[in-house]
Amino acid sequence: MSEYILEMKNITKIFPGVKALDGVDFKVKKGEIHCLVGENGSGKSTLMKILSGVYPFGEYSGEIIFEGKLQKFKSINDSERVGIVTIYQELALIPELTIYENIFLGHEIKKGRFIDWNETIVRAKEMLKKVKLDINPTLKVKDLGVGMQQLVEIAKALSKNVKLLILDEPTAALNEDDSENLLKLIRDLKQHGVTCILISHKLKEVISVADSITVLRDGKMISTLEVGKDEISENIIIKHMVGREIEDIYPKRKKKEFGEKVFEVKNLSAYDPNLGREILKDVEFNVRKGEIVGIAGLMGAGRTELALSIFGNPKGYKLKGEIYVNGQMKKFTKPKDAIRAGIAYVSEDRKGNGLILIDDIRNNISITNLKELTNNGFINENEEIKVANEYKESLRIKAPSVEQKVGNLSGGNQQKVSLAKWLFVKPHVLILDEPTRGIDVGAKYEIYTLMNQLVEKGMSIIMISSELPEVLGMSDRVYVMSGGRMVGELPIEEATQEKIMELATN
């Protein structure tokens, strides 16, 4: 038998319009801890979803060989049956159920036709002991901290006789002690013969536990580094992660003139009562007139939370700190206040909270500023259609008419409607959250060109982006966020992908 427990050969997965994985080879040795790293969107999660059967056999091309046998997983159940268990970033525990109910959910221990609860509790205790968690299994999951919940997830995996455990960013939500604890447990499991694939953005952590490291970039396998064989350092890994050249897809701006600070945030902290933890800590940043400021960082760094906190706080975080617009301190209690002060926010999630998909282009654009179209309390529909048509033409929204339902448009055109809707409020400060996520290169270029035109006319743009080339290509200044903090500010001349990644992964 080969030394590999898992071989994924020539895996290709195509989403409509995007090649998420392109001929990836991925091999994991028996009994090792194998780390999978790469930028956001490099294909790590897609690869793991194929392995666990979320994307079933037939939706990808290539072969999966597990323990020497060709596997064709059609569902998560299929992969779990052979011993591959994934623990996702979003924990899959049910808060209102007890620990023992959660551990054996889906594979209950039965006596005849009924569940044998006594045996379940006994077995749950054994599993908890394996993950070094000394608590009563009859507690409800919702009463545990995130760190303990993570361990319960692993106990659940162990109860399924796991051979290959996949952990997707297990430490992202944990504090340092809990993270340390978890990594120790993973090393421990290795001693007991469990192979582990660990996806992580925290490179220090990766280097400390990994036996091998595979780097993905743009859906391709770049390299597999082995401890003791290859030279490994954070720098080397980062270089492999970002290695591409910046292509010339970013239009040049005609003039760069920066005025006064038009928007500034000081000491902003935010506490999310739903998550029960602090999501922003002492954040400070500013943007000048006519400037594009990029905010880089990894997923979960708190960038969208920052944008929402500025934009009238629709999620009801508990905020501390100061916001200045044109030097004047402002307090926004709802998005309307922020809009009135000349701030607009184009959401990262245009389908979820950006647009009304069942409504047409015209209504989606006008909704932010109906007042401008209203005479004596009545909407002037003709004027409204005219305005919508103007945006449709100037942003080149491809649709038969402005009566078209937004849900029927392509991603790029939806994003343009999203932009039009916010340009219609004539903002001074435009916050763009992932402005080009999931849209094709042509539409990206058009959006970049539009951004340039806007700042040339004196608007200020705050651009949140996970695509480093975009951050470097478009920004005049770059801020880096990590763990809810502003961890760095770089003038564009000094900013490089490596530097940003170093700050972001710290």
Partner: protein, 391 residues
């Protein structure tokens, strides 16, 4: 050929809007044939429309409630309770009619706002909050009618709201002249406003339907208005109930289609998250919509008490479900964000026509319920099936 193509195109685009009008026409035609013309007689149509009044106003309010993804189960017994309050004010308290109506409408609005407050600010699911209201108002209705049982309302002018007709200006045998004049005015106004809209669109260089199609549409709609007024004028003319319903529908139609408030309501229903981020106060909109529902419940209670000329201990039973059914038959989508008040009125008429027609045919009550259920299901299936095909 070009004309046919245009007709086909328009029909295809608006099949959802036209669907229920066609359904109503078909149902009326079938009953007219099966009852040998009795169904379409002046007297019957007049009765049918008056019977629909108190459900129709509820359906208008319920449309907006469902559009913003909520439900209100309390409206039936709330209407019953407020109807009883009206009766008590008129009899025991001896209040004048106008004051009674004002007090009851105000009371309804306050109760509606309270429901809205529970849903929007306290965060209780509308189903639960209004279920609690339904139980409470049922109890309240029993409480106020406990001693006396049915409260007879002897006030003629109050009862006219549910039974009376508008006066005539001159006596012409067999014809209600004022009704005909109002009908003619309505046609005139309709034609004027259509011409105005068209003129404005042309001014903006927007596409308009061809002039043949435009004239045909004018003739068709005018003919329908003329026919309905002709039928009504053959009995006692326009009833006060019809006048009230038309005014309510007109106001709500204008609010929902022409004002920012209307747009906000549909935006909140279409995507509450996006609406919130667009600067719309979602809680306030919810409050307003529930407040309007309370107001219309009060109106419904007044219409019902006036129609029966009394307040009974069981008034309002199942009104809420009739109103919800009317809204769904009228094309409101349970997923939120879609539905017109005019559609719900047609929905209410469809359901009322079914009951009325089947009664005339002598269909047993058991079959009546089954058929009404089937029609409701068919309407929703039609809605789901055509949703993705229309633009």
């Amino acid at each position: 050929m070009k004309f046919l193509e245009e007709a086909k195109h328009l029909l295809k685009q608006n099949i959802r809007d036209y669907g229920m009008y066609v359904a109503l026409a078909v149902i009326m035609l079938i009953f007219t044939i099966t009852t040998g013309g009795l169904f379409i007689s002046s007297r019957n149509i007049s009765n049918l429309i008056n019977q629909t009044g108190y459900i129709a106003v509820l359906a208008v309010g319920m449309t907006l409630i469902i559009v913003i993804r909520h439900i209100d189960l309390s409206v039936g017994y709330l209407a019953g309770f407020l109807g009883a309050i009206a009766a008590i004010l008129l009899t025991k308290a001896g209040a004048p009619v106008y004051l009674t109506i004002l007090i009851v409408l105000a009371l309804g609005t306050i109760i509606g706002l309270f429901n809205g407050y529970l849903v929007a600010y306290v965060g209780i699911p509308a189903f639960v909050a209004t279920l609690a209201g339904m139980l409470a108002f049922r109890g309240a209705l029993l409480l106020v009618t406990e001693e006396t049982g049915t409260i007879i309302v002897p006030n003629k002018s109050f009862n006219a709201i549910g039974n009376g007709f508008i006066p005539d200006i001159a006596h012409v045998p067999g014809i209600h002249l004022l009704t005909l004049i109002i009908g003619a005015l309505a046609i005139g106004f309709y034609i004027y406003s259509e011409f105005n809209t068209r003129k404005n669109k042309i001014k903006y260089n927007f596409e308009v339907i061809s002039s043949t199609m435009f004239i045909l549409k004018l003739i068709f709609v005018s003919a329908i208005i003329a026919y309905i007024t002709w039928i009504l004028s053959g009995y006692n003319g326009l009833s006060w109930t019809v006048v009230i319903v038309i005014i309510v529908v007109a106001i709500y139609h204008v609010i929902t289609t022409k004002t920012p408030l209307g747009r906000y309501i549909y935006a909140v229903g279409g995507n509450p998250e996006a609406a919130k981020l667009s600067g719309i106060d979602v809680s306030k909109i919810t409050l307003i919509v529930f407040g309007s529902m309370g107001l219309l419940s009060a109106l419904s209670g007044i219409l019902y008490t006036a129609r029966l000329q009394s307040a009974t201990t069981t008034a309002g039973t199942l009104f809420e479900l009739d109103a919800i059914a009317a809204a769904y038959v009228g094309g409101v989508s349970a997923a939120g964000g879609v539905g017109k008040v005019t559609g719900s009125i047609v929905g209410a008429l469809v359901m009322a026509s079914l009951i009325n027609g089947m009664n005339l045919m002598g269909v047993g009550i058991s079959y009546q319920y089954i058929i009404r259920g089937a029609v409701l299901a068919a309407a929703v299936i039609f809605d789901v099936k055509t949703r993705n095909k229309s633009r």
